[in-house]
Symmetry: C2
Subunit: 218 residues, 2 copies
DNA sequence: TGTACATCAGTGAACGCGCGTTCACTGATGTAC
DNA sequence: TGTACATCAGTGAACGCGCGTTCACTGATGTAC
């Protein structure tokens, strides 16, 4: 039996192979998108037979679910690391864009077109709220503690009364609105850019993005 | 031979069947997304054999391309009709949301995750610029002819110098920025809503959307 | 240290499936004289 | 109006493919005495 905290060689080997399978999976997704992911093709690329992969994943669905979870996890870590080293809201925005451009299909696996049937497992919801927490922190810092009371816009009063998604975070209504705008506006600019809808239009997507970052905090 | 402008019964029948095939295709896409679209399954649902469909479409790719084109065409017509009956920029925004909610998968076929290999044919670009034209008209109306000269923000001066995408449209830099924001911000809010990322968060997506509409023209 | 056993990685054959697509053919519908 | 021909819709069989997944099995690696 393995001593707690120490990996046996077999466990290390297992972990390595699981990691390699995922890497190949990402390569496939980059080429043909998530629908083009195939266990048999991964096995062939690794010089193994198809059924061998069933030692490492229960099936295609489990693999794809884990890829999504890893992508989410990676984004959350990236955001939190940036926040921990002092990035403000605009800084987090740039971090997000860098992460997205680094692997567009990974971004789309998280925020892209959903497969009608598929429902994400619970732990993904947890990671999502982790990200949201970091955004709320940064949003609150941007707003400052001063304007906590004033709720001028209709959206802010609506959010003040419907703040389940913020959990226990003590963000002011303005901060709630800012975090939401961060998410939706940056996703809008980013996903259209990544999907290629701006190509041939002649302007620089980075300029648009920076403009959104600037106007978040106004 | 058919007399120009008059359809023979056979031509009418052909057109009808093509339309029915597309309808069934949309039903399938609604159930399993675009990757789940299958010619054989459509044929079976229509009580025909698979190869029969090849009388009407050269293959799966042609069908899917035509669906995308139809979706784009429909959106452009919807937007233009709304504009023609006097809708302002916010009105066009609401029209867009209604159209998207009416069939989320149709929206995603146009603006969703791209398949890495696929490239849209030229006529789609034409439709896209038709939509952009309507947006620029509405944006210019919202801005008014007054502030045509002033370019205060960095984004506006960038757009003033990179306006290929506006074609010959005489929109002011501010109008260019407005049209772009319309597109990216509304797409951001809308696509996250349609993808289900707001479910369980507790706030009303319509409130967020209306807020964006309000702040477009500020 | 050496032997006996358990664990586990990976193979190869097989199943059943649905896919897109081609091809030769039948039968109905329309056209021309 | 009636006959001869051309057009075209749809069928059924077939091809080749790749998919996910199962199963019984081999051979190597680790474990216990």
């Amino acid at each position: 039996m393995a001593i707690a905290g120490k990996e046996t060689p077999r466990e290390r080997y297992r972990a390595q192979l699981r990691a390699e399978i995922k890497e190949r999976a990402w390569e496939q997704i980059a080429v043909a998108g998530a629908p083009g992911l195939s266990l048999n093709a991964i096995a062939k690329e690794m010089g193994m037979s198809g059924p061998a992969l069933y030692r490492y994943f229960a099936g295609r669905d489990e693999l794809i679910t884990e890829l999504i979870r890893d992508a989410y996890r990676g984004l959350a870590d990236t955001i939190r690391t940036a926040a921990a080293s002092g990035a403000d809201l605009a800084g987090l925005g740039r971090t997000l864009r860098t992460w997205a451009l680094d692997d567009p299909q990974r971004y789309f696996l998280v925020y892209g077109t959903p497969v009608p049937g598929y429902h994400a497992p619970d732990n993904i919801t947890l990671i999502a709220s982790e990200i949201m927490d970091a955004l709320l922190d940064a949003a609150q810092s941007a707003v400052g503690p001063a304007a906590t009371a004033a709720q001028d816009t209709p959206l802010e009063s609506h959010l003040a009364e419907n703040r389940q998604w913020a959990g226990a975070h003590p963000a002011s209504p303005t901060a709630l609105r800012l975090a939401l705008h961060f998410w939706t506006r940056l996703h809008g600019a980013l996903s259209l850019e990544l999907a290629g809808h701006f190509t041939g239009m002649g302007f620089d997507p980075a300029e648009l993005y920076e403009n959104e970052l600037r106007h978040l905090t106004q």
